[in-house]
Symmetry: C2
Subunit: 364 residues, 2 copies
């Protein structure tokens, strides 16, 4: 990867930010780019991407289509991602053609749960206990270390609870591993946490750093239901969460917005669950509650602009609108700041939009 | 106009809002539509419209191209405008094909300064003194009534000080009228005002009404320089301004956002300067300072959705970025919420973007 392109100067207004992935995150990134006078180009593997509705610059092709990726790179000044699972070959190709932010190092580290957790521990940060499961022979050994109940997770390509399953015994675990077609996995011990939280932060190429106040997150069926800021995190825990994000961003020489998902232990300890090298669902409330949203912040960072002000001017509750809940759009439109993503079918478990309600800022 | 199409039900998410005019107002309307899961289609008479950068649905054709207008109407569920000067024939054609909001009545009334001022006075509201100047013979008569100094304005197609000139004598006025090629005009007396203000408000098809807090406006070279909220308007004057907007919206059976520009007299009287039947530059601060911006509010109204909450949660100063000022985008990006419009050339007097700074809400 010697011929990785660097961005020598900021992308000026009128320049084009390439975004790999055309879901709601790509859509909201494109809308944020437009505020700043930047164009957004979207690359997506399906024709009907939400983000295709908000820019004329679009390529629909497979994520491993090297020709299409090269044509896409041609119209972009810098390239970024709405998701972390692009094949390594595609990342290498893009990086040889145009500046890519965040780069392959951040993506490779976070694409694989095993390397991600090792990386986190190498920084002196806490994770759930975990063991690699690479072969049927590893199952019994791993289960003996972690003990049950535990969660078997594929090392790659998991999100919203996909590619993971709870196991109560070594036999369960062996069966799950077989169902995963023996894909390299990890066995992760349960963390008996008090609640979940996350921190969304940005690092610019010059090393400057800006973190949003960390929300408390409530999940249902492995999908984020609600983010609440301020949640149950104390001020000291909030500061610690921001410091964790900063340590991770610096160690990865990261450029852009990242999110760190956290478990908050009954003893108050912060345990890192996972790193998302991108804007994150638990940061959507920043659109209304901060002068510079996580989406604008990411665009600023990848375009080489100065970071914006992450100060929160209101308390906020962000609620996801999932599946058929979107049918109630008319009443939702009466009850807060409504965002809908332009998805055609309200499938079960699909994130269709979100609703943010603001309240005057409390003292925390 | 018997076959004007009405909107029988709200445009659902996934529907398309047609916007005539692809400047910054069309662009920000399109971005607001996207938040709500609505598509935006843009019609503009030049190829390189700012709003063309934020949607794949676009038609570039003359505003009197009936074939292109008809093709445009076909892809829209409802049609609206970023400017009020569409030819009457074009409006009539669009109204025969699809619901148009606001409709021809509001556009016709406000396209012509003479009919606009008569309409305002018919509601018992104050305007500057004015006289029609339709022929050379009218000049002396009009000047004798208004007395100098005064302003000669063409009845149609004026904005940002275009189509108007200050005159100190009947001879001046005759010369100006000749320069206007005897276009139907009005001679308007000066109002000795303390300051300028405006009120931006919305009316829905069901008659519900929502007004934003009225800003004080500062103009330079006939172009809005700055809007300040709260400005020097008292609370009572703010309420009166909102009542004026409501009276105008109801009398026009208006659907959408409108702005009313006001002079505030030294005696505290509110004098209506003009009505803009559209979103307005003096309402840009609502993007950051209100839960529902003027752009989203307009989209909601024209799509038949419930109006959003116009409550202001912060004090705000909005400053236009004009011409070469946009070259300082990097330092502007450090100093507030920056919006750039994607215009290619920073021409003299051209609105290139705006910057909004928020402060905690004061008691007013």
């Amino acid at each position: 990867m010697s011929d990785v392109k660097a961005l020598s100067h900021p992308v000026p207004p009128g320049g084009t930010i390439g975004i790999i992935g055309g879901g709601q995150l790509g859509r909201m990134l494109a809308l944020a780019a437009a505020r700043l006078g930047l164009k957004a180009a979207i690359y997506n593997d399906e024709d009907h991407a939400p983000a295709f509705q908000v820019t004329p610059l679009q390529v629909a092709a497979a994520y491993d289509d090297q020709g299409a990726l090269a044509r896409f790179a041609e119209i972009c000044d810098v390239i970024t991602f709405e998701f972390e699972n692009l094949p390594a070959d595609a990342i290498a190709l893009l990086e040889s053609l145009k500046p890519v932010r965040p780069g392959h190092r951040a993506l490779e580290t976070t694409q694989d749960r095993f390397s991600e957790k090792n990386f986190i521990q190498s920084l002196g940060l806490k994770t759930a206990p975990f063991e690699a499961v690479s072969s049927a022979g590893d199952v019994v050994k791993a289960f003996a270390v972690i003990k049950g109940p535990a969660i078997l997770k594929t090392r790659r390509l998991g999100y919203d609870g996909k590619g993971q399953t709870q196991v109560g015994s070594a036999e369960d675990c062996a069966a799950a591993f077989a169902r995963f077609k023996q894909a390299p996995s990890i066995l992760e011990g349960f963390v008996d946490f008090a609640f979940e939280a996350s921190v969304v932060a940005a690092r610019a190429a010059d090393g400057s750093f800006a973190a949003y106040d960390p929300p408390e997150n409530i999940h249902e069926n492995h999908i984020l239901r609600r983010s609440i800021v301020p949640g149950r995190l104390s001020r000291a825990q909030g500061d610690e969460a921001k410091a964790i994000a900063k340590a991770i961003a610096e160690a990865l020489d990261y450029v852009g917005v990242l999110a760190v998902e956290l478990f908050v232990g009954h003893d108050g300890a912060l345990i890192v669950n996972e790193i998302a090298p991108r804007v994150h669902n638990s940061g959507h409330w920043t659109i209304e509650a901060c002068a510079c949203s996580q989406f604008e912040q990411h665009i600023r960072a990848v375009a080489g602009w100065p970071l914006g002000d992450p100060t929160r001017h209101a308390d906020a509750v962000m609620e996801n609108i999932i599946g058929a809940e979107a049918h109630a759009w008319e009443s939702l439109a009466r009850s807060g700041a409504l965002h809908l993503y332009g998805k055609r079918e309200a499938r079960l478990g699909r994130k269709m939009g979100h609703l943010t309600r603001l309240k005057p800022k409390s003292s925390r």
